[in-house]
């Protein structure tokens, strides 16, 4: 079969070379996937193919040829007609002040010379094809009125408007919920078959790649480490890096620490409401229940997970439990005593024993504070810590850093000199500085590459065991929850819809939503091909 897009010896440089000597082909009706971690050069490669490199980047050498032997670099670019693109983040990739219908119609009018009426007709057809609900009404909507999945459908319609032969998809489902991801991938496959599209698919997720690609390229540091037929590479990888990547999916970490049946924290009928719409007189007409009547207990030393999709209220629940948000109803009971946010003395004690670790390693540390200072500040929050001299505090901070796998000299550094994974270790050390007995881990590994993720999860389990901590792990990622939790709560629309031991819930879910969630996992995707 003749390739529809051929990239030969592509080298791209910004200040330094970021993509080196990359060769691959895309075939009609088939998918070529580029996988790699952040910084591997996969996105730059796709930008170079689209001719969308920013001014600071340039193609040093290489050849990109497309249909009819068109040289992409030399000739007038066929971008938008022969080759088009779907981006990662549909929220910001659509013009916020333009109706989606005209955004899609624009390509048709510019490239195919259709008039307004013809373009509208065609857009409705496209919207029907990408399975948008009520295509005619959607025409006149603005991007912010659509859900994430719907926006990505609009993006796909836009990319396919001029019937290109190659589609470049850069992490098209990464920003979406797992159930939406499954439907979008399904749609892409269907359209590919109907239109005999060649797809260049950029992803970090090996499971997604396995389910849709025929060819795969593994990239690291701008170079190809391994490439070949998808199943060959993923089932019998030859390069050690590929093997490491494949093995980095979260694995079950079986044993937790010592557990007891003593209730540590109890949530009773907790709820938080926002008013989303008011009538003419300012009386609320619509309320949004971010957290709706949630109750559960976590025992000393227990590892509990909450899983749910974005907007289900899981993070808000975490903030409520930490006393950082005030509930509109219900209460949190800590060690059999009702927590009162107004009572500063008891809150102070509570804060020493319950600590959070948040999602974003880049905003979790004060950029203007040295690591040592940040940790010592936390140490001083404890009763014993206050009595320590500053050198003793530093000693304590040092042992904390060693515990999370960092070095003594890191005490004197600012957060900017650490990578995401290392920062998350520092955040953990700061949380441990007050000697807590309970952690709330809110998507604590979601922003990290898979390999780093599994390292952090292992560290966490070790610490949990050594210190007999209890924790609540909040995540959208079922595999992560499965790996490090004994018990799991499934949350949807602010409510807990299923609760049980991890094995029970994962092996024999009761609720239909839980079943749907489990079936949508990339590893489970099964396309009839």
């Amino acid at each position: 079969m003749n390739p529809i897009l051929q990239v030969k010896n592509l080298t791209v440089a910004f200040d330094k070379v970021v993509v080196k000597d990359v060769c691959f082909s895309v075939y009609p009706g088939q998918t070529t996937a580029i996988v790699g971690e952040s910084g591997s050069g996969k996105t730059v490669t796709s930008m170079a193919v689209m001719g969308l490199l920013p001014p600071s980047g340039r193609i040093i050498s290489g050849e990109i040829t497309g249909v009819n032997r068109l040289d992409y670099i030399k000739n007038g670019s066929p971008v938008g007609t022969e080759i088009s693109m779907v981006f990662q983040d549909p929220m910001s990739s659509l013009n916020p002040s333009m109706r989606v219908g005209s955004q899609v119609g624009e390509s048709l009018r510019v490239h195919l010379g259709l008039n307004a009426r013809e373009a509208t007709q065609k857009v409705i057809e496209l919207f029907t094809e990408v399975e948008l609900p009520s295509p005619r009404e959607t025409l006149n909507k603005y991007p912010h009125e659509l859900s994430g999945g719907q926006k990505q459908r609009v993006m796909i319609a836009m990319a396919l408007a001029c019937e290109p032969s190659v589609l470049v998809a850069d992490e098209p489902t990464t920003a979406l919920d797992v159930t939406v991801q499954a439907t979008i991938l399904n749609l892409l496959q269907k359209l590919q078959k109907e239109r005999n599209l060649g797809v260049l698919f950029i992803s970090h997720d090996l499971e997604v790649v396995r389910s849709i690609a025929q060819h795969v390229i593994v990239m690291r540091f701008g170079e190809i480490v391994e490439q070949g037929l998808c199943l060959d590479v993923l089932d019998s990888p030859s390069h050690p890096y590929t093997i490491e990547l494949i093995n980095s999916r979260p694995k079950k970490i079986c044993e937790g620490g010592v557990r007891s049946h003593q209730s540590l924290i109890e949530v009773k009928n907790l709820g938080l409401e926002f008013t989303t719409s008011r009538n003419f007189w300012g009386n609320p007409t619509k309320r949004f229940k971010a957290v709706d009547d949630v109750s559960f207990i976590i025992n000393t030393g227990e590892r509990v997970g909450i899983v749910g999709e974005s907007g289900c209220g899981k993070s808000t629940l975490g903030l409520l439990m930490l006393g950082l948000e005030k509930p509109s109803k219900g209460e949190v009971v800590w060690k059999n005593k009702v927590l009162n946010v107004e009572d500063e003395k008891s809150m102070k004690e509570f804060r020493r024993e319950a600590q959070p670790v948040f999602q974003d390693p880049f905003s979790a540390l004060n950029p203007r504070m040295k690591i040592g200072k940040a940790i010592c500040e936390a140490i001083r929050q404890t009763v014993e810590g206050k009595k320590l001299s500053s050198s003793q505090q530093l000693q304590e901070a040092k042992s904390l850093l060693l515990e999370v796998g960092l070095q003594e000299e890191d005490l004197e550094k600012f957060p900017s000199s650490f990578s995401g994974g290392m920062r998350q270790r520092i955040v953990l050390a700061r949380a441990l500085a007050v000697k807590p007995i309970f952690l709330i881990l809110d998507e604590s590994v979601a922003a990290l590459d898979l390999r780093i993720q599994s390292q952090i999860l292992e560290l966490l389990s070790e610490i949990q065991k050594n210190r007999s901590l209890a924790y609540l792990f909040i995540s959208h990622d079922l595999d992560v929850i499965r790996a490090v939790c004994d018990r799991v709560l499934v949350m949807k629309d602010g409510r807990i819809i299923e609760e049980g031991s991890t094995d029970e819930v994962f092996n024999s879910p009761v609720d239909s939503y839980t079943k749907h969630l489990l079936e949508s996992r990339p590893g489970k995707l099964n396309f009839a091909s």
Partner: protein
């Protein structure tokens, strides 16, 4: 401290900073540097008015050179200009200090607390904001009498709004950051969180707005003096020097009005460049 390095490598900021330092030294040195060391450089010789630069005259038996000529009251123009810088710079300095003090406290409080506090402070900001600065200063100087200190206070009392708006905005976005939430969860006091964790990270925009306020204060003071509300005669201010001479525009002596005007502009420009330099340095540091 790579902010300073960035700042020094910025040519315009360096020029601006040097120019400001030069005038600050002139203002501080005061009579020591001035050819006419009398208070306010106010040695009037009406018979010697409007002489061209470099004229040598004999005053009370002593020879004196008008390096930049003499003004309409026969005073040494150079000395008047040098003495005039005192008003511009001190008004700017004190007004900016007042505006920073009020603006920081109110802005930080509103931005950090949110809720009712924020609503009330924002309303007050809008109210003060909707009286144009110049009119506000006029009103305050009228209320407390015309004069030196009144102008300082009046300008400071109007410019804090700008600072408060910036600080409030910064604090609102910082409040959502995870390290602030983490600090709250550690049980740190509000005071510590606001001034140890949030303020240092809001410093960039605050310095930029402070530089802009310096520039604005110099402009307002000059304008007030031009209108006769600011510095009172015979205290020299670049604004009232322009006023004293602008009727000479259609003569060869137009530069007597143009030069002080240009000095005002140059000092304002210097602060603008310095502020831009800070902004860029902070951007790079990020």
């Amino acid at each position: 401290m790579n902010i300073w390095r960035e700042l020094i490598s910025n040519k315009l900021a360096l020029i601006g900073g040097t120019w400001i330092m030069l005038w600050v030294s002139i203002a501080i040195a005061g009579p020591i540097l001035r050819p006419d060391p009398s208070e306010n450089a106010n040695n009037q010789h009406l018979d010697l008015s409007l002489l061209p630069p470099g004229t040598e005259v004999n005053v009370d038996g002593e020879s004196f050179t008008f390096l930049l000529g003499s003004d309409r009251y026969g005073r040494d123009f150079l000395s008047r200009l040098m003495a005039g810088s005192v008003i511009s710079l001190s008004v700017a300095g004190i007004a900016v200090a007042i505006s920073l003090l009020i603006g920081l406290l109110l802005g930080a409080w509103a931005g950090y607390k949110g809720g009712v506090v924020d609503t009330v402070v924002s309303w007050f900001l809008q109210v003060v904001w909707s009286v144009p600065t110049l009119l506000m200063v006029l009103a305050i100087t009228l209320a407390f009498g015309k004069g030196f200190w009144q102008v300082f206070v009046a300008i400071g009392l109007t410019m804090w709004v700008e600072v408060a708006r910036i600080v409030r905005g910064q604090f609102i976005s910082l409040r959502e950051l995870e390290y602030v939430k983490a600090a709250k969860a550690l049980g740190l006091s509000d005071f510590k969180i606001m001034f140890k964790h949030m303020l240092p990270n809001a410093m960039g925009p605050i310095i930029v707005v402070a530089a802009a306020n310096f520039a604005a204060a110099i402009l307002i003071e000059a304008g007030l003096s031009f209108l006769g509300v600011g510095a009172r005669i015979p205290v020299p201010s670049w604004g009232n020097i322009v006023k004293e001479h602008y009727h000479l525009l259609t003569t060869d002596l137009a530069w007597l009005a143009v030069l002080p005007g240009a000095l005002i502009a140059s000092l304002v420009l210097a602060f603008t460049w310095l502020g831009d330099g800070f902004r860029q340095a902070f951007d790079v540091a990020k």
